[in-house]
Symmetry: C2
Subunit: 208 residues, 2 copies
DNA sequence: TCATCCAGTTAACAACTGTTCTCCGGAATT
DNA sequence: AATTCCGGAGAACAGTTGTTAACTGGATGA
């Protein structure tokens, strides 16, 4: 299925990825709106003008980073919401998944949390779209559940947004606790678990 | 009780406030980490070096903005959570209050949402502290409620954090809908109301 | 009244920014 | 084999940045 790229295109994608990686690293200590084009090229080790061969602007680069950070996450979210089992098990699994994802891609998570309300409009818009897609996907998965019987479509979407926002809050908490001792990370796990549990209880009694 | 300031100190506070106002206006389209010192002084109409008479750095200015944006909000939160009445009434009143606050101080709200996970560590820390104070205050108010009987202290704090985060999410939604037509604002109100309602239901059945 | 204080000014510094235009050399195409 | 393509380099542009030092002049306090 995979198409073998020419030497040229392969090399281009390689340096493009180098731009994304370097930018992500630089963004650990600043926001996108203060990220300089020359700063990135310096980190990559290329001439400033090379930047324009890949992106129109740093805002454009930011949008590409949004796709990299969230684009590949959709199947993961779908399967997590729809996995079978006790609701308590599902909560535990979801939070473990978030925790592991933060461990594996901390810079990606930080970038999304930072730029979701950040100073660059096109990037905010791109994140908003991706999160709306998540909510929509969670909605369709929730709708399949027998639990959703009697729910209006709107209410399912409302709940889906609540879950997505809670997912982000939890990820951000794990991020802050990344270099903290184990018991702090455990505290976050407990907090997030109980919050998700409370939401689930609210869900179970919604139709009362 | 109020001490009359000398001409000198009064003038100083006046230009200091001008710095805060100008910065807040400039921050509508960028993040604090890209806000330049000269940019602010230019907007105020004063020499660049005058900045140092009031702040060590733009990060320092940011921390002052956090106090301005959140410092005076504590009594409001306390009374809102503890107001008597039907829980449905309380939800409606809380969301109205958020909506009006966003209308009255959109730049403040935008600043907090943007810099909560922003690129300037001292500012993040200042916001984190203020939000922790909010959560603590909500906790003590919730603990007074007869509803909280049988709840562990930890669980009340967990719920308080959930409320505070939900407050911020709602504020941010109203902010995005600020210049949108009335029906979009109404949609946000409906969404936030039902989310808060679901959380309240979860709260009512927590001890089952 | 006179000396002190201090918010704001002026001038200058080296270092940095985004962007344009021109060029190079190896890959791709014919 | 000859030609086109194109990712990257180089140099130069006018503007911008944070920070320093030494200053001015009106408010302050003795």
């Amino acid at each position: 299925m995979s198409h073998t790229l020419g030497i040229r295109q392969a090399q281009k994608q390689k340096t493009r990825q180098a731009f994304l990686d370097a930018a992500l690293a630089l963004l650990e200590e600043q926001s996108l709106s203060s990220l300089g084009l020359r700063e990135v090229t310096r980190a990559v080790g290329v001439a400033p003008t090379a930047f324009y061969r890949h992106f129109r602007s740093t805002a454009d680069l930011g949008v590409a980073l949004v796709d990299e950070a969230l684009g590949s996450l959709h199947p993961m979210v779908r399967t997590t919401v729809s996995t079978t089992g006790d609701s308590e098990e599902r909560i535990t699994r979801a939070i473990e998944l978030i925790s592991h994802h933060v461990d594996a891609y901390p810079a990606h998570v930080r970038f999304i949390a930072r730029e979701r309300h950040g100073g660059v409009q096109p990037v905010r818009e791109a994140i908003r779209e991706q999160l709306a897609r998540f909510a929509q996907e969670v909605q369709t998965e929730l709708a399949k559940d027998p639990e959703a019987e009697g729910w209006s479509e709107d209410d399912v979407l409302m709940l889906a947004h609540l879950y997505v926002d809670q997912m982000l809050i939890t990820a951000s908490l794990f991020l802050e606790a990344l270099e903290a001792p184990e018991d702090e990370r455990e505290r976050v796990t407990q907090l997030a678990t109980r919050q998700l549990r409370l939401i689930t209880i609210g869900r179970n009694h919604w139709l009362d």
